[in-house]
Symmetry: C2
């Protein structure tokens, strides 16, 4: 496991060993049509270095059309460690996370980012592995006017940026908890929220003991820069979830996540990218980094001894495009900001080329799925 | 383009340049949990070398259970060139393909293969790019008693093997054409057939001018070795298609294909593998190899000059497992047989671990999809 924590990134290893002539082919097969490296402003590069986080920029191109102007925007993906130890006072942990992400957002603003998205439950350690309720539920806040939403509203106004802020939400009147993403317009207004539609029961992901499946469907947010949606973490394993966001008009689907190496790493480059291909849209996969240690020991339901950490969150945030291409990933180990320029016109261009939505036979699948979901479903199995 | 034809395989390039210590991590991230190399019998290795095709063998392991015995079987995937020039007489082309695939099937038998699957429309060049009907529709045969089905029945009986034979089908009475896969039991009986559910309208894939969308749904075949289904070619871009085969009980889904480098290669490792992950099953992606030249020139709807070939079919056949791991691919350039041993118990073990089908909320999606497929669907879009 230690070697897998230290391994910095697939991309770096490929670049340092494979000769240039073959590297182009390797990249084409692994990552698709090459993304352009973005020239980022010197002040941003210097700030990122000073503040000790990785900064990378890439761009996807679309063809120039006659009747539609390009619809170019920049998204920013933020991945980071839990700043303070998990046993620091709750308010101090939250404030430290605000400060860290605030300085990363400032660099995003220097890079001209229009929509910035943070990782899942970004203000807290991913403490659901412990199955303790105290003090972790204290990190839950109101989506509409909690301190984190107010913090994001300030960021949004200051930088003229849409901010997608995934938090642990508490509905004040009912005391219900949710895993939620708040969408703040670049005007600073809260546009709304969306909730995690699928809740894992896997390994140390004991989230179903904290909150239930989302009840807000597949809302899409029409921002000034494009139509966005948020598919939180485990929802990426469910193709129907991505699909329904797309059918509701999403042009970019963010997937803020928290996931560890031993469990899911080989699936990570596959699922969000498959969703971009299948739905003719952009997808943005974001994962936290680092290993979070908890004071109380806990077991993982795998017959192994009790321990104090969940494993290594491997970062590797990336953006995938509808043509099957993707950016390189951020590091597996460091805080990072990925700035990606995209022209949303690419979505329709690829749709016109591949036509998955036109060849999808959706009305027939609606009937098939209705039958298959019924308790008396008879599978169509041929025997000899 | 020429360099991309010559590039033999991603796996080979990685192995020849990346130091052993890092290679293990690269492989883990790219391919998941390592597959075992299969010891194949010397006679098979020698026959493959003599007959000039690549032979590779890998195995996926499952845990030993107390109440279920292991359900171990071997599948074989065959990828090959069109043997004769495309202007050779039709019967000679078919016979040459039978001979070639027959000798590969013999090696598969030596390797203990239980289910053997060929590439899409394996008895013919992929001539649909020409938009000519003559002589290509002459390659169409009866699924029940055409010469190719009879050939496969002999193979099946001789080698005690299930044979999946994707052909261009002609329904004799109506003269209708279909893109079909015939499933022949290891007893030699035709178990049935299944048809390509989604037809491309992409680049040189003019197939919609030859045959229509399949009308046979998502049949699953209960063979002696396991429940199998066939998702033909372009159906791999449609997550709902894989999903419905899985809901009907498929444990292994074959994806016989014909696809070219410039268009789809970066999607190739993603889609079948995503389907294995999302549906807790094995998927087998098979693509032909080589460049097929046609006497008549044709254009590709891309503003470029008329030409005589479709581009390079890049092979790279592989098998993906429900745990997100996959085998290395066959070569991009050579005929090949991939022998893969799998224990079907892995499907349920991974389902019990990840529970995608239990957390999938299918009844709700059936309603959502029914609404979304209706012409008066109102997307759920929030504006400021």
């Amino acid at each position: 496991m230690s070697s897998s924590c230290e391994f910095e990134s697939l991309e770096k290893t490929l670049e340092s060993h494979i000769p240039e002539a073959e590297l182009a082919e390797v990249r084409r097969i692994l990552f698709g049509k090459e993304t352009q490296k973005l020239e980022l402003p010197l002040c941003a590069v210097e700030s990122a270095a000073q503040r000790d986080f990785e900064l990378k920029g890439f761009g996807f191109r679309a063809s120039v059309e006659q009747l539609r102007p390009p619809r170019v925007l920049r998204v920013g993906l933020v991945q980071h460690h839990s700043v303070l130890p998990t046993d620091a006072p709750v308010q101090e942990q939250i404030s430290a996370m605000h400060r860290r992400v605030g300085e990363m957002a400032e660099v995003a603003a220097m890079c001209g980012v229009n929509i910035l998205c943070f990782q899942e439950t970004w203000t807290m350690p991913f403490a659901f592995c412990t199955r303790e309720k105290e003090p972790w539920t204290e990190f839950a806040e109101s989506a509409e006017d909690g301190q984190t939403t107010r913090f994001c509203q300030e960021l949004a106004r200051k930088h003229n940026m849409v901010v997608v802020s995934p938090i642990l939400e508490r509905e004040e009147l009912s005391d219900t908890l949710w895993n939620t993403a708040v969408v703040v317009s670049n005007s600073g207004n809260v546009m709304g929220k969306t909730r995690k539609n699928h809740i894992p029961r896997v390994g140390d992901f004991n989230e179903s003991t904290y909150y239930m499946e989302g009840n807000m469907g597949h809302t899409v947010f029409q921002t000034q820069f494009g139509r966005i949606a948020v598919n939180i973490c485990y929802g990426r394993h469910h193709p129907l979830n991505w699909f329904m966001f797309s059918l509701n008009g999403a042009e970019i689907i963010f997937n803020p996540s928290a996931t560890v190496g031993a469990l899911s790493e080989p699936m990570w480059p596959i699922e969000a990218r498959n969703a971009a291909i299948a739905n003719h849209c952009f997808t943005c996969a974001i994962n936290r980094v680092g290993t979070e240690h908890f004071k109380s020991e806990f077991t993982s339901g795998d017959g192994k001894k009790a321990h104090h950490d969940f494993g290594h969150f491997y970062g590797s945030s990336y953006v995938a495009a509808p043509d099957g291409s993707r950016t390189p990933g951020l590091s597996r180990t460091r805080d990072g900001l990925l700035v990606v320029e995209m022209d949303l016109n690419l979505n329709r261009q690829i749709s016109d080329k591949w036509s998955f939505k036109m060849t999808g036979r959706y009305a027939e699948y609606a009937e098939l799925l209705t039958r298959a979901a019924a308790p008396d479903f008879k599978p169509k199995i041929v025997k000899e």
